[in-house]
Symmetry: D2
Subunit: 339 residues, 4 copies
């Protein structure tokens, strides 16, 4: 792979993680430019890299020294930066969410369609996780027959103080929303959100929840969302097919026998569980950005996730089953997209 | 334990299984009398046991040589026999269902209440299963905190040809309905039944299903019901508590490594999975029938299961959330019950 | 099964356990006579059963009211009682060891051979354990090919104060010695005992140990013996075959997720682990004693176990590889056995 | 990390794997020079990298454009190249074995000691495997108490046609030999090799084997070596401590339920099982080579592994217990080492 010069917008926690990964997962990639609303922070990060700083994201995107862009800034800024990258014809990796509303995400979809080729990748890392990939491989092999249902659980040990009630959908369940669409190759057409007894650790949050997702192909998916389980970070999934099932395995690097029990560690947080998936995600993105088109989750996936999240938030508020109606998907070169 | 002379009504498959168990799980128990609509069958079974036959269940119940009664006849006959046993003051073990309608079950509840003490046990064997008991013990210990949700799956490899669509509820899900009430010590107050994509093995059956049960204490339970999974008989359950979870373990007597896989056997049917639970169930019933009051699932449990099943059948038909309203529970010696 | 009247010699802990089992695992069996060196204890046990007491084991064996005998007295008395039972032509279940020396065991073998039919069963309960039976079934099916090696571990949480250094072999490893002979249908021809670092919990005991058993069919078996592991009672085994392996599964009735771990309980002692095996053992013995010949571990198995234990004790003392030479096995009616 | 210019000696299968890894695990590392006895192969590999070729390893080592050396050539050449790298003061990563005899390895130890600082790393990748690291972390935490024994199994699905009988030790068991020394921080002082029944898949190989390793701290380690198990590549290990045990977990990315079984995949070969460990190994080596001293397995470890392998080969041939006597370990700047 020839060298890829990456500019990173946003040098907060996630931005710095991605910079570290870009420097360790793939030879030939270099982060040459950074920017952040906190200019002093950006300067410190740049100094450690031998990179330059830019006054803002648009300036960074415009730089001829930047081949590809990583957007890790605050969600409200994503649309502007991704549109600018598309306008500049540069590959852009945008952390989730692609945009803060389905409408905004759809504008990105349309812009990329007008451009005529894939430039956008959204940061849904589960598609790069070895266990989810193995799950999908078994499903696609046909060995368990046609899929009928999927049971999921998404459990966080805890969440930070700024976590809002609707983040249970937009920050947490959104990973399952994207995963399910990818796993089954079918859009989500309706959402229910059921509210069990509330955990004493929940504070003001609706925690736990049970999401029920209906897919266009009639597969039914239930997802437990729990964000204060205390015991660890635990991601579970089992697909029921006509002839069998396939489930995510139990990690368990080691098993300790002591005090009447045999015990294996549960991941502590998403870094433990998905660290390797982030590595693969950025490696594959960098390779594709250097030489071809991204084949990871794209603008349409970001739009669909936003539309389903939107419906799920309404379902959470109202207690009703909410249907999801997606816009028509434009194709590259499609006249409607150009309109 | 002093000898207990048992009469068995119904010598079909289940009846003969129970006769065998009564002869092997507990010394001092003897099956002294049997009856069946197929008199020739009853005669053959009686001959093998050195027991007598009776022309019908009421005659058997009335016999002074019968101390306690086991009812394994067709469900439509249960009410009459159980009421007769109560009238005779004899302990009676009745295979599920206790009766064919909530109203009929309630008549039994009232009769037993007028009698003034426990005589009736209903055949919900999961309460005697070592794994479910261990689950309940962990829950009751408080180690996982207050319960919030439970995820269940009930999978049959296949079902016989006479299996009707509503049996998914009344014959299959009813085990989870009773288990959940016992596990959480709380009544089920509402039921939903969601219909995923239908398995190609389903024939005319609504298979699989997702039941959602709401409990009075706000615990939410989801239950996958699949009756044609082909791969085996698989019963799963995980309780989410505020501080952790507890799940039924994976049996797996042995693990075989061959051909690129490590594999453990899954039970083939309910005999494999719950054989030992049936043993314990009948042993504990026989001990209590010989000397004390039954403490297993009783008439009220049979009534509540019937009422929830009834609601679930309506939910299955209508697609709606159906609430469950139970009658007031009589207490022994209660004037209302005597009315 | 017609009624079997059992006499029990020795009403210590094991004796009372067996009496309890004989009263609960099989209808039609009754313990009608007991005896113990502690006459007062025997009287109390007899009173609870409605049984009679005898002044000693020989008197009990001679009683015409006793159909079959269970020997649970001190090991030094086993030979005399078992020989007496053979002389009386009565089925006898003898707790391990069959006798205190290979020579004594061989006298029993010869006596039974002269009698001309199986009367003796020795209390090796592993042959009745569902997991070991499943292991053997897989092995015998040929699915893993011809056996080459087996790895075992036998771990006790702790041992009582009277446990002697050589009990590591004669009381503990002897279970693996019998199991291996049964599993592979081949005699053990040589033994090594290696001594690792000693546990600080070992006191005066050689703990842990590694036994290496060589079989006549060239299968090699290693057995870890640890009798102070503290964490529980843990029995492990994996057979390596030419085409795969089969291992005892991990029990794990439930899995608890809490405090960063997913944990399953380990059995606390042999009752937890082998309780059901003892039930099956006594049930099958009682059935065979009532109507046929025992097919469980017999006198020859007791002799072979004694001979291998003897060799292993020498190997433990000397650090050398010790070969095992068995006497020629008599056949019922064989003249040599009659000599 | 500033750029590290690596020269690779040997562009066979392993060499090309390492080149690929050096290009993907760490930004800033570049392979700038290669050489191979097959000059045409070296030229093709160099062309793909934009690297130069050298006529031989010594020429490559001498190049001022090469900062650090990776030796993947035939084992018989390792000593010469490693000594040359030490003489040039360049960090060198040498694939196992470090040399073809303990004496040769000791010459490298002495040369490095004279040099006065660590330059050599040997390719024992297990020290970089997440599961082995977790095992060691638990052991070192003291939670299972002082170690007493370890049980290992090393199983290959099959081996290539050129695999020699002694490779069971020198190519296969040598990984456990190094791992054990690292795990327990203690040297191996004696070795036994026991020969079970031979697999029908073994051809001329002594397969399987049971190695028994005695450590200076009295820990006893048994290692099953099987190189034709067919079913997959399976690496197992359990450490028995005074208060508990710790074992390598079962991988199992997914669990498939079908046809009466729940099954998880077993790795197919060492790439599946240790691919990530190789990544970490080369990443950590590159980082240390660029800026500091290697802290991975060094020349002494290569020597000790060679000495134990040598003893094990003798034990394999003779059937005897063979003791291992290591030379005195020189320290950097030690006068004896300089002699």
């Amino acid at each position: 792979m020839t060298g890829l010069r990456v500019g990173v917008i946003g040098t907060g926690m996630i931005g710095r993680e991605h910079i570290r990964r870009l420097s360790t997962v793939q030879a030939g990639v270099s982060v040459v430019a950074v920017t952040d609303v906190d200019a002093a922070l950006a300067a410190r990060v740049a100094a450690g890299l031998g990179a330059v700083t830019h006054p803002d994201g648009l300036d960074l995107i415009a730089s001829p020294r930047v081949d590809a862009v990583v957007v890790c800034s605050w969600g409200g800024t994503h649309e502007e930066y991704v549109l600018a990258a598309i306008a500049a014809g540069k590959p852009v990796f945008c952390e989730k969410p692609l945009a803060t509303s389905p409408q905004a995400a759809l504008r990105i979809v349309a812009a990329e369609a007008r451009h005529g080729g894939r430039l956008v990748q959204v940061g849904y890392m589960r598609r790069y996780d070895a266990a989810y990939r193995a799950l999908k491989k078994v499903l696609d092999s046909g060995v368990i027959g046609a899929p009928l249902m999927m049971h999921c659980a998404h459990r966080n040990a805890g969440v930070p103080g700024f976590y809002e009630p609707e983040y249970t959908i937009t920050e947490t369940a959104v990973h399952e929303i994207d995963m399910v669409r990818w796993m089954f190759g079918s859009e989500i057409v309706a959402v229910r959100v059921l509210r069990p007894r509330v955990s004493r650790h929940a504070g003001e949050l609706p925690d736990p929840l049970l999401l029920v997702l209906e897919l266009a192909n009639d597969v039914l998916v239930d997802v437990e969302i729990s964000v204060n389980v205390r015991y660890g970070y635990d991601i579970r999934g089992e697909i029921l097919g006509e002839d069998g099932t396939v489930a995510l395995g139990e990690p368990g690097l080691v098993a300790v026998r002591r005090d009447g029990r045999v015990a294996s560690p549960v991941p502590g947080d998403w870094r433990d569980r998905f660290g390797a998936a982030y590595d693969v995600e950025l490696r594959e993105w960098a390779v594709s950005a250097a030489g071809g088109v991204p084949d990871g989750p794209g603008a349409w996936d970001g739009y669909a996730a936003a539309a389903v999240s939107d419906a799920a938030v309404r379902a959470l508020r109202t207690g009703e089953r909410v249907t999801v109606t997606l816009a028509e998907r434009p194709r590259p070169g499609d006249e409607r997209a150009r309109a």
